[in-house]
Every structure is written in C-alpha cells, then in structure tokens.
C-alpha cells in the first residue's frame, strides 16, 4: 500500500482505527438525523418524514412569525440569565465552605453531591407533589401557614411568577453538587505558596484573599463550569415538562424552545417542517452564543 495514504508509520491507519468506530456511529446516529431534520425544514412535512412538497423558506418565516416561538426564546434567555449565575454562585459557595471544613468534610461533600444521583423525573415528583404542592399539605405551604400566610399555588400562578422558584430550585438542587466537586478540584490545585505569600503581605483571610488569589486562580475552572452550565441550560426540557405539562398540554408561560418544538413536531398536530425549522433556528442561536462566549472568555486563541 502506498505509504502516503497510510501516513508516516501507518499513523493515518491508526488514527482511523482509534477514532473510526466513534466517528461512524456519530455519523449514523447523530449526523444522519441532523441532516434529515435540516431537509425536513424546507418541506411541508405534516405527519410524514418523507415529504414531497417543497416549500422553500416558508417554514422559517412562519416559525419566526409565531409569537409563541419568539416568546419561548425570550423565556429561555431569562432562564439562562438566571440559572447560570445562580448555579455558579451556589456551587462556588459550597465548594469554598466545604474546602475550609476540618471535620466531617467527606460527609458534607456527599450530602451536596448526592442529588446528582436523582433524575429530573424523581426530582419533579418531589417538587411538584410534596415540596411545592399547591394545597394545604405541601411542605412550602405548611411553612407559610406557620407564619399565618395563605397557601400559594406555586405552579399555577403567573402573577407573580412563582413557578420560576420551583423550576430554578429543582435545577439548583440537582446540579450544584456536581459543579461543587469541579470547583473543589480547582481549589486543590491552587498552590499553597500563594496563600502564604499573601499572608506575609498582610492580606486578610476572607474577602481579600478570595478576591485577589482564590477567584483569579480559579479562572480556568470557572470558565469550564460556566460553559458546561450554559450547554446544559440549552438542553433544558425535563424539569419544565415534568413540572408544568398536563394531560391537555402546556401553559403558555415558562415554555422554553424545546418544549415548544416538542409540542409542535411531536404532538398530534405533527408538523415536522415547522418543528425542524424552529430547531435549526435554535441550533444557530446556540452556535452563535457559544462562539461569542468562547471569544468573550478568550478561548480559541491559545491553549491555557
């Protein structure tokens, strides 16, 4: 065999031996459906995946003209702007506190990490039926009652939008422990010597040390955590669906794009053309945000 195809020392051959199986699978099970979706977005594809009626960009104009879709994008932006900083702050706070513990450190780390084992289905059951149950035997309403307040229908009240409290706390509970572990790992890597030097310079333990040493040293970890949080927020579906959907559909509030697309494309009015067009728009937005974010954090310039 000509060596230029195999590369020096058969390296190209070995490259494909290692990556080939994965790449083929990715092609079949990710890229084929992806391109299929892309194609569907240009067809009138109601109740069929092999449409024949080409409609050009009309699915795109109609999905972008649908106020339900555009408002779902807004909903999602609000959610993202809230959940990402909140999860980051909570994880960081937990990590800092656990890191300074001398006693029972493993115990507290376990306690905060344990929710990672729960599924969104289970967590939604607990949140919806026990914690934020809208009637008198829910825990939150029991607590309100102790203070003489009336029960609140947490998930059915849009003024004020209490449902956000439920949605955000469920995700905080499920995620914070995992990111706490990542940040703990980052804290372990900060050289002791830096703290000793700071102490010599008279920096007060606490806020000053945090601001000038811990936080800057955590930068790589923080960037990683925020990126992961944003990617996860893009995929948000399970808790919205499990908390708010009913047998008859989904309320028009707190409806993120994936929930909208799920109902449009997979519901009884199975409109795969519109659904795919919306999905393409969403994927483009996600790509754009990711690129902007990467620039913002100065990634892609040089390996750290």
């Amino acid at each position: 065999m000509p060596s230029r195809l195999l590369g020096p020392q058969n390296r190209y051959l070995w490259f494909w031996v290692f990556t080939g199986p994965f790449v083929v699978g990715l092609g079949v099970f990710v890229y084929v459906p992806l391109l299929w979706s892309l194609a569907l977005s240009f067809f009138d594809a109601r109740n069929t995946v092999t449409p024949t009626h080409f409609v050009g960009l009309s699915n795109y104009t109609s999905v972008l003209g649908d106020s339900a879709f555009t408002s779902s994008l807004a909903t999602f932006a609000v959610f993202c702007l809230f959940i990402v900083p909140a999860t980051y702050a909570l994880s960081l706070a937990l990590a800092l506190m656990v890191n300074r513990l001398r006693l029972a450190r493993a115990f507290f780390r376990s306690v905060f990490f344990l929710p990672t084992a729960c599924s969104y289905v289970v967590a939604s059951v607990i949140w919806k039926l026990s914690l934020f149950n809208g009637v008198r035997f829910g825990l939150a309403n029991t607590v309100l009652r102790w203070f003489g307040q009336d029960p609140v229908a947490w998930l059915s009240t849009s003024h004020p939008p209490w449902y956000w409290l439920v949605i955000v706390t469920v995700r905080l509970w499920l995620q914070a422990g995992f990111y706490m572990v990542l940040i703990l790992a980052g804290l372990q890597r900060i050289p002791r010597a830096l703290y000793e030097a700071a102490a010599v310079d008279g920096a007060r333990p606490g806020w000053q040390v945090f601001r000038h040493i811990t936080f800057p040293q955590l930068r790589a970890t923080s960037v990683a955590v925020v990126l992961l949080l944003v990617i996860n927020a893009f995929q948000a579906f399970d808790e919205f669906y499990n908390l708010l959907s009913t047998a008859r559909g989904y309320p028009p509030y707190a409806r993120p794009p994936l929930v909208y697309l799920y109902y449009v494309a997979l519901g009884q009015g199975q409109d795969l053309g519109i659904g795919s067009a919306g999905a393409v728009v969403l994927a483009l937005i996600i790509a754009l945000v990711t690129v902007v974010q990467a620039r913002w954090f100065g990634l892609g310039r040089k390996e750290e």
Partner: protein, 437 residues
Amino acid sequence: MTTSEPTEPIPAPTFSRRRLFTLGAGAALTAALAACGSNTGRGSGSSGGHGAPVLSQWYHQYGEAGTEQAVKRYAAAYTEARVSVQWRPGDYDRQTAAALLTDAGPDVFEVNGPTLDQIQGHQVVDLTHEIAAVRPDFNAAVLAPKTYRGKVYGIPQTIDMQMLYYRKSLLTAAGVRPPRTLHELVDAAHRLTTRNVKGLFLGNDGGAGVLGGTPLFAAGLELVTADGRVGFDDPAAAAALAGLHTLYANKSLLLGAPADWADPSAFTQGLTAMQWTGLWAMPQIKKALGDDFGVLPFPAAGNHGRPAVPVGAYATAVSARSKHVDAAKAYAKWLWVDRTDDQQDFALSYGFHIPARVSLAKKAAKLRTGPAADAVGFATDHGHASPLLWTPKSQTALQDALTRIIQGGADPSAQLKSVVSTVGSELSRVLKKSGKG
C-alpha cells in the same frame, strides 16, 4: 476545558484512505451490534406460528384498576390472529404520532382522534365498511368527528364526558343553590371558599386545559360553523371568558392539587366544594361521598347561553403502515362492532363511560338512575364534540389564550381576536387541502 486548536504540529496534508477504513470500521460495528442483540420481546409484526398474523394493539393508560387486564382478556379471546396488547404510559398522543411514521408502530390502536391531518396524510385506513351494518347505532355526535367526506376512520369505543360535581352538604351549609348560570357559578364558588376548602376545581391550570371550548358552547357559540368558518367571533365569547377570570381573581379556584382534574381526589378529600371532572370518576366519588354529591352541566353564559358539556370518544383506528391491514381491520370490527358484551364490560365495569352504541347505552342499568342518569341526559341534550376541522394548532391557540385570560387577566377580546385569526388560517389550510384531493 477549552475549544482551542490541538497543540501537535500538523503534518503536511496527504491523501488518506479514510473512506476505506470508515467502511471497514462500519462493518466491524455492524457485526458488534448484531452480537449485542437480545431482543426483549415483541414479535416484530411478522407472522406467528401457524400463519396467523401477530397484531399489536395499543391503549393509553387508563387509570381505573382492572382495565388493562380486561382489554388483554378481550384480545386473548380472538382466534383469527394473535393480538399483543400494549399498555402505554406517558404522553400517548405523541407516542402514537411518532410511531405512525414507522413500520414499528401499532396495527390497531385507540386514538383521541384521528386528527384531520392523520386522515389527510393517509396514516389511518378507512373503516366505513367495517361498521356499515351498525353505523346508525353509533352516537351521532361522537361519530361525526371520526368521519371525513362520508368515510369513517375510527370506531368510537366509549363516550367520555365531563361535568360539574358539587358537594350537596357544603352548598346547603353555605346557603348556595346549584348554579344555573355562569354568574351564579362565580358567585357560588366565591361563597363556598373558606380557609381550608376552595369553591371550585377546574384543574391545576385554572381550567384552560380541560374546559377548552366548553365556555364558548355555553355562550351559545360553536368552535367551527357548519360551513367551515370560525364559530366564536362574537362579543358573547369574550364575556364568558371574562367570567372565568373572575373565578381566578376571587381566589375561588383550587390550584396546584397533587392530582389533576381527571382524578376526583381533590373533591373526595374535601379540598374543594365543586370539581369539574369526568363521568369516569363517578364510582370513586360515590364510594367516598355516598349520596352527598350532585352533577351539573357547565352553566349557561350570557343572554343567549345554554348549558353545555363536552363529549368525545377514544376511537379504534388501523394504521395504514400495518403489515396486516386486512387482519387488523377484521380484528377492529370483531372487538368494537361484534363483541357487544366486551364493549359493555369495557364501558361500565371499571370506570363509568357511556357506551358509544345507542342500543348498549340504553341497556346499561348503571346509567339509568341518580347522577349517572343525569349525566347521560346532559350528554344527549347538551353534548358538544370538537369537530374534525378543529385542529391541534387551533386547540393550542385557544388554550393559550384561555390561560392568559384566566390567570393573567389578559383582555379577552384582544386574545380572542388572535385566536380567531389563527383558527381562520388553519381552517383555510385544511379546507384547501381537502378541496385538492
């Protein structure tokens, strides 16, 4: 984690045999997959032992105990084919919609439809011939939405209807009489509300989901007129919907109950004095409350109003992609046309449903007295089914508007205007399609 370039020096570009190896790896992968088989059941739609086809039949998950065993019993008695019954939890409409796109879907399935798009997309087959002999015996109101251009695409199984249940003792204690108008309903709910008990339960979303078109029917309007136009472009509609917001604003509605409107728990546990739920819940309510309850239709709204209850039917349909369409049709006919005893048992032995066949409904002793008889009367006199032209998109538009009006206090006229426009364009779309072919 970064998204930067790899740090290795990149060798000069040369041609590779990537394609060849890709194919080789693909073959290896396929072999590996074949080895990891372990089929967990399901006779892949092929033939059974002695040339008898294997049919797969789907039901959504009924809440009443015993229903699953019952439908499996019916299927087991069929001799012309082996029927494998699948009991589907979760979002049934979406599961069937996805499955109908493939060969792996059901042969025979019950459906809260079929929808016009499913019919126009040739996903379900024509069953007119199967029910021809007994067609007049089916309840006309629920058969109509299964009929498209004279052909029947689903055999109605049972009639489901919903109505208002009220606790007699609580109404008496509060000095409230059973409401006959929407105005009285609002007033009654308000007066029945105490610190521990709410006046009315219309579902955890405040009624938008379960009520749907019912308040419009009660205002004397329709969803779609006989000539295919929007039926609620009328000020009376806005007035009726404004009444629903008052219920919410008065804090008379129970919200956030652990079980939604379809389950009578909130009513039987005393969380609410009145609840909107299905006829199917009556046995449970009777067991819990004895005679301490009565039933009403949704009360008339406005000057031209009339009482209304929604009726509908799950229907049995046959997938056009079934490999055994004829066998599937024969089975559907056998169970839902010929086997009247099974139909009777299915309708009445587990929950309460009205048999879709008029002759069976008349025979049902359980439906002849008390609140059950009232319910049958409501269904006959005040029943409205969603027409076939009422597409899921129209339904979503109305439901979204209802939520905004009820919970958000949005202006009913403005909301209805946008619903009218959405429904109008849906109607012209489906009518144009049916005009074409």
